[in-house]
Symmetry: C2
Subunit: 337 residues, 2 copies
DNA sequence: CTGTTAGCGCATTCAT
DNA sequence: ATGAATGCGCTAACAG
């Protein structure tokens, strides 16, 4: 299928010089005569020469590639994180290999293997909702390949992490609902396997407590982030004898779906029920009513995670640090509350 | 940084056998004693052995990797195409390398080089809005690496392409507006550099013509798909002495932004102005009013493009085909019209 | 069934 | 300033 690809040897032969000289000319080594370099560069251009990453990856300890493992990218959140990460990777001369796992643990494991096979110099990870065994990620640590978690982090592993003020954001959101006179505030939370669910739930709980509102277990539901299931839980809330007057959702996609279902049921937002999300995805201000939500700096998260990873790559294993960077959040009040 | 990675040689040494035997055991070659294979597999697992893609990429003609070049992935369209493509790539045992160009021609060229360096076996491409020189893509053809275009295709290159019924979809959308009694239908089109703009515009023009409506050049605007600029053009339409009573937009993100701006201006949708989009992105039914749009099979586009590419990879250059596959579209009528 | 050898494309010693 | 030789990890051809 593939024709012969142009190699440094082709250039060397054509010019009647050695491979080494060509290599030097191409990589910008100082010890090459200016005229030789010029000839090599010219011919390389004409022959559409392109360095072969595989031979370089094989030679060098560094592949100059970092990998990013995300659970999905149908919603805008992860693509935006990726854009941030890619920005920094590129600046540092790294390529970014992206893999999405479709929220499947098995796919995540397979993707992790691919990353290993590609000899990534480091790995950015946000886990699937199913992941609760981390062996496939711990391998990286053992092999001396740094990992940085973002968003959906693994508590069990001592590595750098980037999260946002989940607790504070959730607290602010719920306090806001209380300030608006809401008494029965429900929480549609994420999977118990994700610590992000716990942090946001804690903020919710503490805001209630602080305002002397008794948390009601009937009003707290964990779900697996599979959007079609939102309907089940929202309908459950709506048919409760003592219906909630507000729902705080784990994230924006969930909140948007919640709004859709409430509207379908004929109830009014925010008059009958207020809805608040978390993230400030770009859709949030487009829907009707516009969503009150906790803004998080999404591409900043990608940039920060990449920065931490690149820094870690420069260090030897013994020097590895494990900071947890917490980015700011900010409540954005719109008409859904 | 990196510790020593486990290689087949490590396994061979440990077991007192040769590298070749280990290699055979690992790759499932038939000529290996069952007990030997078992021992190798066991040890490989214990040592967390992982094949090195670079050495394989170097050895084989095939890298078993395909690349995908997209102009952006902040909106849901391209991620969804990628998911479709990845599905098929994975089934066929191929890895997918994703690169996004942020609508920048220069970045696209750089990304194309990366793909070349990674020795992709084939390339899926949807161009940036800026791309009108195709040298960086033609190189692939010359090197015998097949390309398949999707969505934003290059007319100049004779390669397989996947598009949708742009003309028919646009025609149906405009006919629908006319059926609803609209007389002055504006068209917010994409860049003239993209043939997709022309195809959709033709559908618009012909629908008008068929209904004996004189096309009005004041009502046709081309823009570069940079969302912030939508405001300029929509405001231009709104302040026209003879204001349009409908706007047909090149795609959904544009239509959604258009709706936002019209609402901001205080006009009612669809009473004062109807808006129709193209794509049926998942946001389209969430906004207020829900968007009337032309549905296109998004992940199907990714799957089809990948299928065409994989087929092409199996063929020698002389056997290459260049079919243009046209996927169905369907008008979805909602409340914005 | 298994071992030996060669070589993929390149950067990097070590010579000259 | 340049060339020759080496090896990264692996598979395939050849030899037993």
């Amino acid at each position: 299928m593939k024709n012969h690809q142009t190699t440094i040897f082709d250039i060397a032969r054509e010019l009647g010089i050695s491979k080494s000289t060509v290599s030097r000319a191409l990589t910008g080594h100082p010890n090459v005569h200016a005229s030789t370099r010029e000839k090599v560069l010219k011919l390389a251009g004409d022959l559409e020469y392109q360095r072969n990453m595989y031979s370089i990856g094989l030679m060098k300890k560094r592949s100059h590639t970092i990998g990013i493992l995300v659970p999905e990218f149908t919603r805008s959140f992860f693509p935006q994180v990726i854009i941030g990460a890619q920005e920094r990777a590129k600046e540092a001369g790294y390529n970014l290999i992206i893999a999405q796992s479709d929220e499947s643990y098995e796919t995540e494991v397979a993707n992790a293997k691919v990353m290993l096979a590609y000899q990534v110099d480091g790995l950015l990870v946000s886990m699937t909702r199913e992941t609760n065994n981390f062996d496939h990620l711990k391998i990286f640590q053992r092999k001396g390949i740094p990992i940085v978690f973002f968003n959906r982090v693994c508590d069990e592993m001592i590595v750098p992490k980037v999260i946002v003020e989940d607790y504070e954001g959730a607290y602010a959101a719920v306090q806001h609902l209380i300030d608006r006179g809401r008494k029965r505030i429900a929480h549609l939370s994420g999977p118990e396997s994700l610590s992000i669910s716990h942090r946001r739930k804690s903020g919710y709980m503490d805001a209630l407590k602080k305002n002397n509102i008794q948390a009601d277990n009937d009003l707290i539901v964990h779900y697996d982030l599979s959007l079609p299931k939102v309907k089940i839980y929202v309908n459950y809330f709506l048919t409760l004898p003592d219906r909630p007057d507000a729902i705080f959702c784990i994230n924006d996609p969930t909140a948007i779906e919640t709004i859709r279902i409430i509207k379908e049921s004929g109830l009014r937002i925010p008059e009958d029920i207020a809805v608040v999300g978390f993230s400030n995805d770009y859709v949030s201000h487009l829907i009707e009513p516009p969503l009150t939500t906790v803004e998080q700096p999404i591409s900043e998260m990608g940039r920060t995670a990449a920065d931490l990873l690149l820094k870690q790559i420069e260090l030897s294993v013994e020097q590895w640090k494990a900071p947890t960077v917490v980015l700011k959040t900010k409540l954005i009040v719109r008409n859904s509350s």
